[in-house]
């Protein structure tokens, strides 16, 4: 009965009322969910909503959507479960390649690769969606929970990401981004904004990851030079999971217990966050460390502003086994780990002639947070102590960045 019901609806929506403004299609879990849901995702028309009733749907292959202006809506992230534990093909659970797509109220579980990947979308709105690997943190988990790339107008709101072996919420090579009201736990990186322009990351909880929030930029990619990222009103606390990323990936270098990392971006404002319980370091601002011949790439962070944050305990359990950051910091600080660390690395000309005023790191009031950076000239001359702990040297006026607005949201 059930299958016939579905087919009638599909046929009806296709053949008869194709040109009406909006249409709702409903699906329920069945033994043939793979074919039913994929067919619905192909036959859906712009303006339509596909409703996924409560229950668990099992898939052996990835799903994909390539129709603009549609909504896929479940009965809630704990009610409608798309389960990929038996996936035999497809590099992700759900792939979206169209524009103005709303994903709402469902969960993608145990995908073999990434959970939800979105490529080249102009407008992707993911609301109250969960991605989870249910077996806990494991290197055999997929890389990303939420993975919009080369997209613009990206909204991730009220979402939950658990167990990704790279980043729970990862936005790469995209523009105009809001990640808010979301929770990232037990991932290697909780939330990562990479090679992206104009992002607001706020009201999120990033805890029990290896690292909470990363703002990264990498060379040799079509879009690079990440800039204008605001990270505010987040709880970045107790990131205490051992790094379980497969080697080779940049997050594999990140030590357990890192709160926020800003790397090779410009115009980043970190404010009004609660950052604490991170055993290696609460906030670190670093240069891209590997060699590159990419002449268009700037490995240095610049115009970074940090103010109004509440720092809790940090650096009490540095992860000296993973990557180099914790070990270097531990050695430099003589075990007296700071809340905020900047590696102090500058282009050679700036070491000699100084950094332009508007590119300097600016620290506002961050309570009694401690700071540490390296004087690069002294670092090169072993007779001097290169460590600079004077917070006041970096105090300055804050120039707030603009709010990100997504049209129609």
């Amino acid at each position: 009965m059930h299958k016939i019901y579905i087919k009638i609806i599909l046929f009806f929506s296709l053949a008869v009322i194709q040109n009406l403004s909006t249409e709702e299609i409903s699906l329920e879990p069945s033994l043939n969910s793979q074919e039913e849901l994929q067919e619905a995702l192909i036959l859906i028309n712009s303006g339509d909503t596909l409703r996924l009733s409560k229950g668990t749907y099992y898939f052996e292959d990835g799903l994909s959507l390539d129709v603009d202006d549609v909504t896929i809506e479940g009965a809630g992230m704990n009610e409608t479960i798309l389960n990929f534990s038996k996936q035999a093909s497809g590099a992700q659970g759900l792939l979206v390649t169209s524009n103005k797509v709303t994903l709402k109220g469902f969960s993608v579980e145990d995908a073999k690769g990434d959970a939800i990947k979105v490529i080249g979308a102009k407008g992707i709105y993911m609301i109250n969606v969960k991605t989870e690997w249910t077996g806990g943190p494991k290197s055999s988990n997929g890389a990303y929970g939420f993975y919009p790339v080369e997209s613009s107008d990206v909204l991730i709101d009220g979402c939950v990401a658990i167990g990704a072996s790279d980043a729970g919420i990862y936005v790469g090579q995209s523009k105009n981004i809001i990640v808010r009201n979301s929770t990232a736990q037990y991932n290697v990186a909780g939330i990562e904004i990479e090679n992206s322009f104009y992002a607001d990351v706020y009201n999120n909880l990033a805890s029990h990851n290896t690292a909470g929030i990363l703002v990264f930029d990498l060379p040799d990619l079509p879009q690079q030079g990440g800039h204008h990222v605001r990270v505010f009103r987040n709880q970045v606390i107790n990131n205490d999971t051992d790094n379980f990323a497969p080697e080779g990936n940049i997050v594999g270098e990140v030590p357990r217990g890192t709160g926020i990392i800003i790397q090779a971006n410009s115009h980043v404002e970190v404010f009004d966050n609660d950052i604490g319980g991170n055993g290696t370091v609460n906030l670190t601002i670093v240069t891209y460390g590997s060699e590159t011949n990419d002449e268009g790439y700037d490995p240095h962070p610049k115009s970074i502003q940090v103010h109004g944050n509440r720092f809790g305990n940090g650096g009490f359990d540095p992860d000296l086994e993973t990557g180099e950051l914790a070990a270097i910091l531990f050695e430099l600080s003589d075990g007296n780990m700071p809340d905020i660390f900047w590696d102090g690395i500058l282009p050679f000309s700036q070491i000699l002639f100084g950094q332009p005023e508007d590119e300097k790191i600016v620290l506002g009031d961050n309570g009694d947070a401690t700071f540490l950076t390296i004087n690069p000239i002294k670092y090169m001359l072993p007779i001097f102590d290169p460590v600079v702990r004077n917070y006041d040297l970096f105090k300055g006026e804050i120039n707030p960045l603009d709010e990100i607005v997504i049209e129609g949201i």
Binding site: A91, A143, G172
Partner: protein, 337 residues
């Protein structure tokens, strides 16, 4: 309905109206590409062709045909597939010989994929053969078929064959977000084919049939990656071009990775040499670089060709088995660097 309204063409000709209609017909035979669909006997104006270097699809064999409507022509495009006129079609049947040692034993047809050049651009659709092998029916959402065949050594091989869904067609057949053919580049057709009226260079035949008017006289020929007399570098690059380059190019679906394996790429980092993974996750297999010259066992590229784990393997779709011969080729190529 369509047949009744438009079925006025001669019996053994392509039905241009069906080909161009907004909705895909439910069965393959409605197009009229074949005089005898079951026997895959092409109709008049439908020409078989063969590519010098082909995409691996789980050891399935492929028979290809091209159709260009009378009175119009495809035009040559440098470094790209021919620009086919509206109304053209590319037809490709995937099959397994029942026994590779004995061609007369017959074959098991899996699907026939069709690329249709409509007014708005190319559209892709696939038809799955029924069990009695008499007709192929449209499969919008794809299909999984567990099947087997006897290989050239007499061993039974099993495969979880996937007929791609409409979106998966686009995953490979897309450049700048438009659907496009991948194979029929002039250089990939520059070879002799045994036509029913005798062997002939395919491009010459296309001129005879007025499918094309001309092509450059100094045209290069794609290297057949199986041709062991060709240089290792040409063979490897040719294989990577046709198997990876449609996504891994600056206009392909995988351009965000920065790994570009199309034939015209020359920058070492973008070819993968000492290139770190970007968003690879466990696809990196704990290795540091796409290609480490001289060390295939440390190269992510080879690891992902070897794997059959959906979260690791490349290509992402269209393969469930490891292409052992190609793995050997790429291993030798990386070793020789």
């Amino acid at each position: 309905m369509l047949l009744i309204i438009f079925g006025v063409n001669s019996a053994f000709a392509v039905n241009d109206n069906v080909l161009l209609s907004e909705k895909f017909p439910r069965t393959l035979s409605e197009y009229g590409f074949f005089e005898d669909t079951k026997a895959q006997q092409p109709s008049e104006g439908v020409l078989p062709y063969e590519l010098i270097s082909t995409l691996f699809s789980d050891y399935s064999k492929k028979q290809r045909w091209v159709y260009v409507p009378e009175g119009s022509h495809a035009t040559y495009q440098r470094d790209w597939v021919f620009n086919f006129p509206v109304g053209s079609a590319l037809i490709k049947t995937f099959y397994y010989p029942l026994d590779e040692r004995n061609p007369d034993a017959g074959m098991n047809m899996m699907e026939t994929r069709v690329l249709l050049r409509k007014d708005s651009g190319w559209e892709a659709v696939s038809y799955a053969w029924n069990e009695t092998q008499t007709e192929a029916n449209i499969k919008i959402a794809g299909k999984t078929i567990n099947t087997s065949w006897i290989d050239e050594f007499g061993d039974m091989q099993e495969v979880r064959y996937r007929i791609p869904n409409k979106n998966q067609c686009k995953e490979c057949h897309a450049a700048n977000d438009e659907i496009t053919p991948i194979g029929p580049k002039a250089r990939n057709l520059n070879s002799i084919y045994p036509f029913t009226d005798g062997p002939k260079n395919q491009l010459t035949k296309w001129i005879d049939e007025e499918f094309i008017k001309d092509y450059p006289s100094d045209l290069l020929k794609t290297t057949d990656w199986k041709n062991i007399t060709a240089s290792l570098d040409n063979r490897a690059r040719s294989y990577l071009d046709i198997n990876c380059g449609h996504c891994h190019s600056s206009t392909g679906a995988a351009n965000s990775t920065g790994l570009y394996l199309n034939l015209s790429e020359t920058r070492k980092k973008h070819l993968g040499i000492y290139k770190k993974p970007v968003a690879t996750g466990r696809g990196s297999g704990d290795l540091q670089y796409s290609i480490v010259p001289g060390k295939p066992e440390e190269s992510i590229l080879l690891l992902r060709m070897l794997s059959t784990d959906p979260g690791v393997m490349m290509p992402e779709s269209g393969r469930a088995l490891t292409h052992t011969e190609a793995v050997e080729l790429i291993k030798d190529w990386i070793s020789s660097m």
